[in-house]
Amino acid sequence: MKSLFKRNILKYGLTLGSAALLLSACGGEESASESGAATEGEDGRTTLEFWSFWGSGSRRDAIEDIISDYNESQEEVTVEYVYQPWGDIWTKSLAAIAGGNAPDVIVQDINSVKQRAEANQATNIQEYLDEDDISENFYPQLWDTVLYEDEAYALPFNTDTQVLFYNKTAFEEAGLDPEDPPSTWAELEEAARALDQGSGDNWEQIGFYPRWNLGADIWALNADNGVSWFNEEGDIRINTPEKVEALEWMLEWQDYYGRDTINQYEAEFGSGVSDPFISGLVAMRGQNINYYTNLLENAPDDFEYGVAPLPEKEEGSGHWSWGGGFVLEIPGNTEHPEESYDFMKYLSSTEVQEQFGMNSFDIMANTEANENLQSHPELDEMGHRIYELADANLDVTTITPVPLNAPDFSSLVNAEIDAAFLGEKSAEEALNDAQEAVENLAE
């Protein structure tokens, strides 16, 4: 028994010991390539770590080419690209910044730059801009998002805007001119009625439903001269007469098709896997312009579609749209802000922006890059059309940075809007209540 015991002790001891050894081996190996802030490489070059969420496909290839060009173009810095999962990259960066372990440059959300600037999670880059002001290179509303107390904390990288996609074949079948998409809400309604096939809860084709792929907030700002829930001065503008009208208009669409029909379709393709536009069930849909890449990849070759600006409420009210995007940012307290800024400046230069846009069909933050892409020899006619439309649309595209005094306001507004769609409140009541709730929050 004793010998058996001894042998087993030995066995367990060995197992645990080897485990410990292996673990420490893992640890040792990795501490050499220590993560986080930049390090001096053996060749005297500074290594910068760059995080983004472009993990596969054309975006990843494009950014890797761009980075290797940069590394070859100079002798001071080597940029190392690290992919982080889409969406979760910001959870990770939050922890990394808090732990003092952040990378040198991160692609961040455009709408929350001010919040990170206020919390010292982003580095002030104003001194570099004072030397060489490149703010003119970007669309003005994108530049506004990177300013906190009039100083810059990031450089805009790319953006997007919402437009109307329509099925040209369906237009022809319904006797509509496929080259003349609706440009006002009234025309939109007229076209939708011509495109509708079916009734009650049995539809073969639905002309248009405003809340599919666009939020109620976008139609509200479309109606209200491009003013979102907060205006540029930071005043709360939720229950304006225009926005009430917009909500009433959306409720009419729901009544027309029936709430049950809408709910049923939302349940069927709400996961975003099946595509009702490509399948021909929906003939027109408002959506982010980057939906074009989905159409390129997933639509059958004979699928004929067009793009147009979002219809305006009435003639002259403006084809207002909404956009988002991403910025390049240096996290707080990193070691090489100067080198990092130089790399960011390179990424936002016209040629690089052009190269990235050409491969990804992202709308770039650099105005000149978008203009060049409208006639770029390597893009086809539809590609030119997309950049032409995007460039024009950005004149009427509002970006809505999260207000510092009420970062969580949108859940309050959405709850009220849902109440209106559930028939619990009228449009006016819902928006009045939302206005009051957000005012209380912002106090």
Binding site: A19, S33, A95, A98, G99, S274, S279, N298
Partner: protein, 304 residues
């Protein structure tokens, strides 16, 4: 009245005759069979319900994107694209990430099974002052949500330079987890103290009793803990996301995320990858199921 009750009596005595006795048994058999059929129908329905997402995943993994986006969706792929699997494995270092995930998982399972059973043995079978308070303290850690400790834990691991290694993912599993300790302690409590007393008289110490009596006797519970830690580590996303900084050290769950982008999701590759990632879990289930039954037998034979 009387007459009718009489006839009833007669009828009843009739029914207790030998012929009707066999009838009674027959109907019981029939009843059993009907019951069984009903049970099987319910079981089949429930398993179809539980399996359908799995079937859907495999079906999506074999479709081309053009078919995936079609509405109404097709259940059985019209064109089967095995190439999806090839593309998935090639689009990121799949087998490298699988190896990485396996290393983490093996150590986590080992750590969880050894440490938790050791700690649980102490709480179940050794008397020492402050035991109850200490045990309550261990259980109290279950009440603290993971997100609350996320940032402090991250800062701690940064300070000791463990971020960027597998250590933050592996080492904590060697220090016990409240739920597993509780589970195993309950199991150990059900084992007779006499058995331990007898071993002690024979000169065994606690380490020997734990390794030679407790571990073999509680195989089913240990395998349960093992399976749970396997699944936890194999499917963990947040841990590797936070602590791994080098792309060559990523795990499968992070690699899979590369198929969902800001505007497009490559469902065909995502589902093919998910199917491949699921295979080890399914294999483990069949493999461990056998041991689970064996373990149950051992519990029956405590006398040996």
């Amino acid at each position: 009245m009387i007459e009718s009750s009489k006839t009833k009596y007669v009828q009843e005595s009739d029914s207790s005759s030998s012929t009707s006795k066999t009838k009674y048994f027959k109907s019981k058999k029939k009843q059993d069979r009907n019951g069984k059929i009903l049970v099987y129908i319910v079981l089949i329905l429930v398993s179809v319900l539980l399996l359908s997402p799995l079937v859907w995943m495999v079906s999506t993994s074999l479709k081309p994107m053009q078919e995936i986006v079609r509405f109404p969706p097709t259940f059985i792929p019209e064109t089967i694209v095995w190439q999806n699997y090839v593309d998935t494995v090639q689009s990121f270092p799949f087998f490298k990430y699988m190896g990485n995930t396996l290393i983490i998982t093996i150590f986590v399972v080992l750590g969880n099974v050894l440490s938790n059973s050791f700690i649980a043995y102490g709480f179940a079978k050794i008397e020492f002052p402050g035991k109850k308070v200490l045990f309550a303290l261990v259980l109290a850690t279950m009440m603290v949500p993971g997100f609350v400790t996320m940032i402090p834990q991250y800062i701690l691991f940064t300070r000791i330079n463990w971020v960027g290694t597998y250590l933050p993912l592996i080492v904590p599993s060697f220090f016990g987890s409240a739920f597993n300790i509780f589970l195993l302690r309950q199991f150990y409590l059900s084992i007779n103290n006499e058995l331990i007393e007898a071993a002690k008289i024979d000169g065994a110490n606690h380490l020997y009793i734990w390794s030679h009596l407790m571990i073999p006797l509680t195989k089913p519970a240990l395998i349960t803990v093992g399976i749970m830690s396997f699944n936890g580590a194999w499917n963990d996303f947040l841990g590797p996301l936070l602590y791994i900084t080098d792309e060559s050290m990523y795990t499968l769950q992070i690699g899979l995320q590369s198929f969902s982008n800001q505007s497009t999701t490559q469902w065909n590759y995502l589902m093919a990858g998910a199917t491949l990632v699921l295979i080890p879990s399914i294999l483990l289930f069949f493999f461990a199921q056998k041991y689970f039954i064996e373990g149950m037998d051992l519990t029956g034979g405590t006398k040996g």
